[in-house]
């Protein structure tokens, strides 16, 4: 990486054309998937094409949508008006740090759209034009929006540092909504969204496919522990509905976390159920439009109601918790058909979720550990030297910081924090959130993930850290690639994977391997039968 932050391009930013370089942008949404979701302008196109096949009146559509959103979101209108361009946000963005492209400074990312706001919606901008920082919405501006609003992971790190709390995630979300009005979106967002709408999960797994996967995991658990875990699916009258990202059903290392949930719930005899209809905690509506968040999220409460559960428990996921914490009940509530969540084992009332009726798994598990409801042998994780990556949304949208740490410290003996500028509310994005974790965008992912990887490398070199924990399914997928590139020798995994390693289950066989089938002790031989 040869980057000099202090050498911006020769040309002013308004006159610097967007270069769609392979590896730095995502492929467009497939027309079939757009049609399934009734989204605008389904067609084959490519960002590198000269002609993006837009409707003739695309400017009118966008400006009308712009006006509408200025009148619906105070955040948006305010953030268009009050930025003083102090630049404090600039080097807080992982994409700016990794690319040096000034349009990846949060301030300039927002100026891309603010300049049009000034031109069409403010008196001064109308009168003074470019002197007031205003510019017309041309096709080049639109292309720039597409490139840079799909080069923001909506991680909100900049909003922590902004003296007015300007949140680029709000700007990007609405920028993407506007792009969607004329059919500009990316397939890695639209396909999971369409799949989720139809099958209940991003991967498009039909119900019988899900049960196969879950049973497969249960078989693995039996091999490792000798215990056949119960596997309730779509069970009416269960006390708790469990919802988690589908990324953890099929791809390593997420599957180990998923197995961890099954083992935990079995061990404590939890009366819960999986759902095939609400088989997705994640919500790629968040990366499409507010309306799409609501459309996809609706099935969570609907399924809780149909199954007549008392409350909902949610697994380890990042942006899912932005939605569950900040949007779900406003959009699809009130959840008055559910009961205030109470842990059936400890009697603890989860008062922080008394209205939404949805509890985070680390809140649930840390309460179990605090009340000595679990038998744990942290030494089973002695092979791991662990650090923890706060996922953006649980950290900066919910303030879930100490619950995961409490669980981690109770299930392993070697835990090391990364430097303070890179954890908790200042955590860095994995570089692949908000739908950008696709393979065609790999260069940008590696650039955007660099600040996170840099911090991991620091603890790897200092403390021999070899396991990066996170509580997000997208993290588990993207950070694995990231570590391979930037910090080899560090594996990625979830919290409940380590918990299940340490969990002493009633009637279990002596464990020789961890959930990944690797020997618990470094010098131990793997039993051939396992």
């Amino acid at each position: 990486m040869n980057i000099d932050y202090n050498r911006p391009p020769e040309t002013p930013w308004m006159d610097t054309p967007t270069n769609f370089r392979e590896g730095t942008y995502s492929y467009p949404g497939a027309p079939k998937k757009l049609k399934y979701l009734d989204l605008a302008n389904p067609r084959q196109w490519s960002p590198t094409d000269e002609d993006w096949k837009l409707p003739d009146n695309w400017q009118e559509i966008i400006l009308k949508g712009f006006k509408e959103r200025l009148d619906k979101y105070r955040s948006f209108r305010l953030f268009m008006d009050i930025c003083v361009r102090c630049g404090a946000c600039a080097d807080k963005c992982h994409f700016f740090i990794g690319s040096g492209d000034p349009k990846n400074m949060p301030v300039l990312r927002a100026e891309l759209i603010r300049s049009v706001y000034r031109n069409d919606f403010t008196l001064v901008g109308k009168m003074l034009g470019r002197f007031a920082g205003a510019r017309e919405l041309t096709i080049d501006v639109l292309k720039e929006w597409f490139y840079y609003f799909f080069q923001c992971t909506e991680c909100r790190r900049c909003s922590v540092f902004c003296p007015y709390g300007i949140d680029t995630a709000e700007v990007t979300m609405i920028g993407r909504e506007l792009l969607n009005l004329v059919g500009l979106n990316i397939n890695w967002v639209i396909e999971p969204a369409a799949n989720c709408f139809r099958t209940g999960n991003h991967l498009g797994i039909p119900p019988h496919g899900l049960t196969d996967m879950w049973e497969f995991m249960a078989d693995d658990i039996e091999q490792i522990t000798g215990i056949k875990v119960n596997l309730p699916v779509n069970k009416k009258g269960a006390e708790i509905l469990f919802v988690t990202p589908s990324g953890d059903y099929f791809a390593d290392p997420g599957t180990y976390t998923c197995m961890g949930y099954m083992m935990l719930f079995h061990e404590i005899g939890l009366d819960y159920t999986w759902s095939t209809y609400a088989s997705e905690g994640g919500n790629f509506g968040l990366f499409t439009s507010h309306e799409m968040i609501k459309r996809l999220n609706a099935k969570i409460y609907a399924e809780a109601k149909r199954l007549k559960v008392k409350w909902i428990l949610g697994g380890e996921c990042g942006h899912m918790w932005r939605v569950m914490h900040q949007y779900m009940e406003t959009m699809n509530g009130p959840a008055d058909f559910l009961e205030e969540p109470v842990s059936p084992l400890t009697g603890t009332k989860f008062e922080n979720s008394r209205s939404t009726k949805m509890v985070h798994i680390t809140e649930f598990t840390s309460d179990l550990i605090k009340n000595n409801k679990l038998k744990l042998d942290p030494s089973r994780n002695d092979r791991f030297r662990v650090t923890y990556h706060d996922s953006c949304n649980p950290a900066r949208a919910a303030g879930l910081l100490d619950e995961p740490r409490y669980v981690i410290k109770n299930v392993c003996n070697n835990f090391f924090e990364m430097p303070e500028n890179t954890i908790r509310e200042q955590t860095f994005c994995c570089g692949g959130g908000a739908g950008l974790g696709n393979d065609e965008n790999m260069e940008m992912r590696m650039r955007g993930g660099f600040p996170r990887a840099n911090a991991v490398r620091h603890v790897r070199d200092k403390h021999d850290v070899n396991r990066l924990l996170c509580m997000c399914a997208i993290d588990r997928a993207t950070l694995s690639a990231m570590m391979e590139y930037w910090a080899p020798d560090v594996d990625v995994g979830g919290i409940h994977e380590l918990l299940a390693n340490a969990l002493i289950m009633d009637g279990e066989e002596e464990r020789t391997v961890d959930l990944r089938g690797e020997p618990l002790k470094e010098d131990a031989e793997v039993d051939e039968d396992v």
Partner: protein
């Protein structure tokens, strides 16, 4: 917009404003225009404009509760919640807003990322922007309050006290106020930072240089008329009192530098509601800061929430029923 062009546009504008007012009073004798008419107009535009902007923002709904949480949220009783960084009640929220508005809490977090060999990245402390910002705003406020002595007779005791403290060091006669120096220094720093740091220069618009240069112009003209060209302060007070009590008079013999000062202030007042300076009001309305992190314990209502097209369980089961039955998954309709 070329970066340097932005700077020179703003500079030329401020110089032009100085010349207009100086020549207007000195050569054409328009002291009533610059001493009464324009200040009144400016004040009216400022007040109406400021209120309009706030009301305009306030009229727009806040559909979702979206605080940026910068600390541990309230969850289990034995986990220490951070009420200031992730407020869970009104006191916490007031505290958070007070820290933000009075002490610029978020800006205080500022760091400076540096890319080194390796590549390796480090984050250094970067409090200068915060310090200059704080000094700038508080010295501005003090100067504003000191000016009350021109508008109120007898001068309130807190204004006298403030002036005495501010002039404690008694440098020069008449005393050069500490806040005058601090304001000049802080504004100069903010200006030079904008010019000198390439990435900040790259994002700067004329609208970023103009208010800084205008405020520098106001401060410089103020110091000049007090300490160098020494205008007759009694006449100035007579004019100010006249304006304030709606009996405007324009005493003869106030130096033109005073009218330059007053005109630049008037321009600032007019410019304020139409510009980024409205951050002064906007910071109070920012939804990422002024909302409590009680999202799951108290329902928040979106006034324009509307029904959307969803994929119901019935539609889902209709599509997959045979397969579900085959896999032993319970179904609603046989």
């Amino acid at each position: 917009m070329n970066a340097w062009f932005s700077l020179f546009t703003a500079l030329a504008l401020v110089v032009a404003l100085v010349l207009i007012s100086f020549l207007g009073v000195e050569t054409i004798g328009l002291s009533i225009l610059f001493g009464v008419v324009i200040p009144y107009l400016a004040m009216a535009i400022f007040i109406i404009g400021f209120i309009y902007r706030i009301v305009r923002w306030a009229m727009v709904p806040v559909p979702f509760r979206i605080p940026t949480t910068c600390g541990q949220g309230k969850s289990l009783p034995w986990i220490k919640a951070d009420n200031l960084e992730s407020p869970y009640n009104t006191w916490g929220l007031i505290g958070r807003m007070a820290l933000e508005v009075l002490l610029f809490r978020s800006l205080f977090r500022n760091t400076n990322a540096e890319l080194r060999e390796g590549p390796r990245i480090t984050y250094g402390s970067a409090k200068w922007l915060w310090l200059a910002g704080i000094l700038f705003h508080y010295s501005f406020l003090t100067i504003l309050l000191r000016h009350l002595r021109f508008f109120i007779e007898p001068v309130p005791s807190f204004v006298v006290l403030l002036s005495n403290v501010d002039g404690f060091f008694q440098i020069l006669v008449p005393t050069l106020f500490l806040t005058d120096i601090v304001l000049l220094a802080a504004a100069t720093y903010l200006f030079l930072r904008r010019v000198a740091i390439p990435q900040i220069r790259y994002i700067s618009l004329p609208a970023d240089y103009f208010p800084l240069l205008l405020i520098l112009g106001i401060a410089i003209s103020g110091v000049l008329m007090r300490n160098v060209w020494k205008v007759d302060l009694l006449s100035v007070k007579q004019l100010a009192m006249g304006l304030f009590t709606f009996h405007p008079t324009v005493p003869a013999g106030i130096g033109a530098i005073f009218y330059v000062h007053l005109f630049l202030v008037s321009v600032l007042l007019v410019y304020f509601p139409f510009s980024k300076l409205m951050h002064a009001g906007g910071v109070f309305l920012s939804p990422t800061r002024n909302m409590r992190n009680v999202n799951r314990s108290e329902r928040y209502v979106n006034p324009w929430n509307y029904p959307v097209k969803v994929h119901t369980y019935e539609e889902y089961e209709d599509e997959f029923r045979p397969k579900m039955k085959e896999a032993g998954i319970p179904v609603d309709k046989e």
